[in-house]
């Protein structure tokens, strides 16, 4: 997806000029000097990177390298220790006022957060609601859609993920793979501009992985949703992503297009890691 690089066409040239960044950098996701510590453990240290609007980026690296933390920071499930995250130039949780770093209020955070969706390793469907209620809950109560409209859209999404006949069942009655496809439908129902996929097949029995990945390939093919993917499914990463970032100890140690990364990694750590997982 090409980004708008001409300042004249920018919706808000003043703001763009104020950030002082190269034109276009304010589109998509931007991490600026991000630090995340859990107690004394530093997970991310001074991390800077940028994901273009519509880009599909896979994060790989050994466990504890900070990949999942990046997704959780974007979803505001963790608090930034320091630094800033911008979505299309809008601050997500913290902003600069003069020289001070200020935390935004819940309402301001919510405005940006609504544009981001997430699918979890453990599905996290609401067990007290039916499949269709899981999907319509947020469109009705966050976006204010009429129930009938939300239900119709939910049914269409269920069809898309191959579960049209399961609308009125409860999550507990479904297999893990089916639950995960419902979770994908639930995230898509909010029309996210950004979709975060956190090891979405890791909790599944091997024979159920294929259906879930097929659904996600279809989403990648038919939409221009920006995707950040943490996965151990290297073939899937290769098929869907435009770029792969290799993390180690909270830093990006290598980045490349998937074909290059998986066939000809430069960094020694990357070579070791890929040898172990491929």
């Amino acid at each position: 997806m090409p980004t708008d690089t001409s300042p004249e066409l920018s919706p808000d040239p003043a703001r763009r000029a104020a950030t002082g960044d190269a034109a276009g950098a304010s589109h998509g996701i931007r991490f600026e000097d991000v630090v995340k510590r859990f107690g004394r453990t530093t997970v991310l240290n001074d991390l800077n990177f940028h994901v273009e609007k519509g880009e599909r980026v896979t994060l790989i690296g050994p466990s504890g390298s900070g990949k999942t933390t990046i997704l959780r920071l974007l979803m505001t499930l963790e608090r930034l220790t320091d630094g800033y995250i911008y979505i299309d130039g809008e601050p997500l949780t913290h902003t600069k006022r003069g020289n001070r770093r200020v935390e935004l209020r819940e309402r301001e955070i919510n405005r940006t957060r609504k544009r981001i969706g997430m699918v979890f390793q453990q599905f996290n469907l609401f067990p007290n609601m039916s499949v269709v209620e899981n999907i319509t809950e947020a469109p009705v109560h966050v976006l204010g859609k009429p129930k009938e409209e939300a239900r119709a859209e939910a049914v269409a999404l269920l069809e898309q993920v191959g579960l049209a006949d399961k609308a009125d069942m409860h999550p507990m009655q479904l297999s893990g793979g089916q639950q995960q496809r419902v979770a994908i439908a639930r995230a898509l129902a909010m029309n996210p501009e950004i979709l975060l996929l956190d090891e979405v097949t890791s909790a599944l029995d091997p024979e159920l992985v294929g259906d879930v990945l097929e659904v996600l390939r279809e989403v990648a093919r038919t939409t221009n949703i920006t995707m950040l993917i943490v996965t151990h499914e290297m073939q899937f990463a290769r098929d869907v992503s435009n770029r792969v970032l290799m993390f180690d100890e909270g830093r990006i140690i290598e980045e490349a297009a998937p074909d290059v990364m998986f066939t000809n990694p430069q960094n020694e750590r990357t070579q070791q890691f890929l040898q172990a997982v491929l």
Binding site: T76, I116, F126, E137, A138, R186
Partner: protein, 216 residues
């Protein structure tokens, strides 16, 4: 050997008086007290989680104090502080608030049994906090909580005689008065005990049924 002989006619004669005390006082206190305890207990449990740290710590401390001091003492305390309020009202409020602190603990345990992923999914969908509580957390937490709320209600029911200290004439006090007037203490207390049992037992069975029904 005692020189006592059980008298069926005396027992039968005591029954209407005791039943009246049961329905107009004991049951009334239990039902209204349970409602207060269930609602206020829920407010405590949510406040403990939602209030900023120093406030929730202070609230937790107050609840501990209420839970760890005797009910009759609290009844006396309120009775002598609010002298113009009738004893039945005081009894209902005191026993309701006393048990709200226990029910708060039950709610808290139920809320804590919800996996963090449920909160995270709600955040990821941008559900407002109140909606998250109402539609996601409480329906699940209540399943774990309802049985123990029922047990507290039964415990409260059996604690109603403590309110005699402030002059509430519930069934046990009524039994003593009736027994004293007619020299039929044993019959009167036995009937009172049977009425307690007749009310508690079906309630316990009902709670167990409800518990099974709430399971997924």
């Amino acid at each position: 050997m005692t020189d006592f002989t059980w008298s069926w006619p005396d027992a039968a004669e005591a029954l209407p008086t005791l039943l009246e005390a049961f329905f107009t006082v004991t049951l009334l206190i239990t039902v209204l007290g349970s409602l207060i305890a269930a609602v206020v207990g829920l407010v405590w449990a949510i406040a403990l989680r939602e209030l900023p740290r120093p406030l929730s710590a202070a609230l937790g401390w107050v609840l501990d104090v209420v839970r760890m001091t005797p009910l009759p003492l609290q009844a006396f305390f309120v009775y002598y502080t609010f002298t113009s309020i009738d004893v039945l009202t005081i009894g209902i409020v005191v026993i309701g608030l006393h048990y709200s602190t226990y029910m708060a603990e039950s709610y808290r345990a139920g809320i804590e049994s919800i996996r963090p992923g449920q909160w995270e999914a709600a955040t990821a969908l941008s559900l407002p906090r109140t909606r998250t509580w109402r539609a996601v957390i409480m329906p699940q937490a209540l399943r774990a909580t309802v049985p123990s709320l029922g047990n507290w209600a039964i415990a409260m029911f059996k604690d109603t005689p403590f309110l005699l200290v402030i002059g509430v004439v519930e069934m046990v006090t009524a039994a003593r008065e009736y027994g004293g007037a007619n020299f039929t203490y044993v019959e009167a207390f036995t009937i009172a005990g049977l009425i307690f049992l007749a009310a508690s037992y079906p309630t316990a069975v009902l709670m167990r049924r409800l518990e099974n029904k709430l399971a997924y």
